[in-house]
């Protein structure tokens, strides 16, 4: 035998799973929502998505190549996912300059400063999004009206999102039943026929994507279910307590970024907890903080903030919510003896 045998520790076979497979899976799952967005907002959705993805990939490449001096890993698809998610969180008439700033912040501050994929404690797309929201509140809070001007980009006709209608109206002394008149039907909300950021309104499309992710085992059910569940329970309690100031649960899960957040942003690998118990707690935290911000804070929407805040708590959750150990059902002495 003239060939050298390869020696490596077990196991000697691999499942074939890879980072690109997961990332491209997420990208595929996002496509229905992208299609819906183009259907609703036309050219603006395309411009915003394309710019965001291109900028994210570009920044990832340039930072890895010239600042970190490592081999660029843009082909693994993670920058594309960040770009897509960032775009989905922006209004489709947002100026290009802001998209580029957002991408630079998402990749530069949110991801590469920590050493790149997997090291970042916060979801990069959300870091970029929240950065923009705080820095440019005006541009970030004017959304185009669906179907109104599909061929126009920046000068598109603007309207409000259901959540901002509610927030605005409530602070004006109107009640929820009155305001519901001004809101599209739940079916329209479900199909996404409403104002909002590029990819967050189409609940149906996002649900399809989410199911795809679950089917491909890219994510587990824990986070989406606990996010949506906690939103439903919490808003349900509030709605029952006072229907005139708090909208019903269905309204809450169909509007804003709940679906996008629950299936795509909160489930971000690097920034979500590792154990199933931890994921449930994390998701519940996101749901509750979201509702708190929506119902009591001054921002109409709180999913981004809620996920970022819970990202902050993820290390603590990981530290104290360990997976269920084998043999734990029987109470045993710890490995470390007390002496």
């Amino acid at each position: 035998m003239n060939q050298k045998l390869v020696i490596s520790p077990s196991p000697h076979i691999h499942s074939g799973d890879s980072i690109p497979a997961n990332m491209y899976g997420v990208i595929i799952a996002l496509l229905p929502a992208l299609a819906t967005s183009v259907w609703l907002f036309g050219v603006g959705a395309l411009i915003v998505t394309f710019t965001s993805v291109a900028a994210c990939v570009f920044f990832e490449w340039i930072i890895q190549k010239y600042l970190l001096k490592v081999t660029p890993s843009i082909t693994d698809g993670s920058a594309i996912v960040t770009g897509l998610l960032l775009a989905f969180n922006l209004p489709t008439n947002i100026p290009i300059g802001l998209i580029i700033i957002g991408a630079a912040v998402a990749i530069g501050i949110g991801k590469m400063s920590f050493g790149g994929l997997g090291n970042n404690p916060f979801n990069p797309a959300l870091v970029g999004r929240v950065f923009l929201l705080i820095s440019y509140p005006v541009q970030m809070t004017t959304w185009p009206t669906p179907f109104a001007s599909r061929l126009q980009y920046i000068d598109a006709q603007t309207g409000a999102t259901p959540l901002s209608v509610i927030k605005e109206g409530l602070s004006n002394g109107q009640t929820i039943p009155e305001l519901m008149e001004r809101i599209p039907s739940y079916l329209d909300l479900f199909l996404g026929k409403t104002g909002g950021s590029a990819g967050e309104m189409a609940a149906l499309a996002l649900l399809i994507g989410g199911v795809y992710l679950l089917w491909k085992r890219i994510i587990t059910w824990h986070i989406p279910v606990s996010v949506i569940g906690s939103v439903v329970i919490f808003t349900g309690i509030l709605h029952l307590a006072n229907p005139s100031t708090f909208a019903d649960p269905l309204f809450h899960i169909l509007t804003g970024g709940i679906m996008l957040g629950a299936f795509f942003m909160a489930t971000d690998y690097a920034t979500s907890p590792m154990s199933n118990k931890g994921m449930l707690l994390y998701g519940a935290g996101i749901g509750i903080i979201t509702v708190l911000i929506r119902c009591f804070g001054s921002y109409p929407e709180g999913v981004s903030f809620a996920i970022l805040i819970m990202n902050g708590f993820t290390p603590l959750i990981n530290r104290y919510m360990k997976p269920k150990r084998f043999g734990e059902t029987i109470k045993t002495a710890r490995v470390q003896t007390s002496k």
Binding site: V6, I7, P9
Partner: protein, 287 residues
């Protein structure tokens, strides 16, 4: 003028009260502590900034007093000056003993030691050693995965790309022994630095019988014992088919080097050998 008076009275009153209460409290609640903690705290800047990683200067002082080795503790405010004083108080500066240096006792380069298989596990000697004997026929030699280099805190080692063996940078080595502990094959040894950095050692740790060892590596020690016979100082012993030169006994005469059939004995930093008399001269000089 009254405001000045009130000011003075208030502050003086508060000051006096604070002093009295603190004094009484410290009398009443006295607790014995290592007096050196106070001494060390005295030297520290008392900025209580937490920059040292400890919660406050006193905690840092306690850590210093308790620690056996204070070399990796540092006060960023006070700097080296303060740390010097601390070391003085604690008397923790180790008396310099005979200088030693790390020596790599394997010469199994790619050339001398043909590779028989290819390792593809975690790039760590420790992981590899738990798995198997090594890429070559010699299960005693260097894995070449650089655990020693990783262990070195002083940039005193690097992996030679060509030979696949670690090299000690003599000027940087402080003989801390980290590499010795890191090597799963016990190849690295701390030896006396020697006059003018001159050292003689057996660059092999293979305990196989001669033929087997030779087959695996052309420069292995085959345990033939020629060196031991020729050594005038009884510095060389043969155990488990392997020669070992005791650095306490060796007088650097270099007779063994010439005798070794496999060139397993290495000499370092000697001038180029001219003839036999020259060797003797150097040897006597060294004494």
């Amino acid at each position: 003028m009254s405001i000045v008076l009130i000011t003075i009275l208030t502050l003086a009153g508060l000051g006096a009260l604070a002093a009295v209460i603190l004094y009484l409290a410290s009398q009443k609640f006295k607790v014995f502590e290592d007096p050196r903690i106070d001494q060390v705290e005295e030297v520290l800047p008392a900025a209580n900034c937490g920059g040292c990683g400890f919660p406050g200067c006193r905690a840092f002082a306690e850590a210093l007093v308790k620690a056996d080795d204070i070399s990796d503790l540092n006060c960023p405010v006070g700097g080296a000056e303060v740390m010097g004083k601390v070391a003085q108080i604690l008397g923790k500066e180790v008396a310099k003993s005979e200088p030693k240096i790390a020596v790599v006792r394997c010469n199994g380069t790619c050339e001398h030691r043909p590779r028989l298989n290819q390792y593809e596990g975690a790039p760590s000697c420790a992981a590899a050693s738990a798995l198997y004997g090594g890429e070559t026929g010699c299960s005693f030699g260097c894995y070449g995965l650089g655990d020693c280099v990783d262990a070195c805190n002083f940039d005193a080692m690097y992996m030679d790309e060509k030979t696949g063996l670690p090299v000690v940078i003599e000027d940087n080595c402080v003989a801390c022994g980290a590499c010795v502990d890191a090597c799963p094959k016990n190849i690295i040894e701390l030896r006396k630095k020697g006059p003018k950095n001159r050292r003689i050692f057996v660059s092999c740790v293979n305990e196989e019988k001669g033929a087997v060892a030779r087959k695996a590596c052309s420069v292995a020690c085959i345990g033939c014992g020629k060196c031991a016979k020729v050594c005038p100082f009884d510095a060389i012993t043969i155990k488990n088919n392997l020669a070992y030169i005791d650095d306490e006994k060796c007088r650097l005469c270099r007779k063994c080097v010439a005798e070794c059939p496999t060139n397993a004995i290495h000499e370092l930093n000697f001038p180029v050998r001219k003839n036999k008399t020259a060797v003797k001269e150097t040897a006597t000089e060294e004494k």
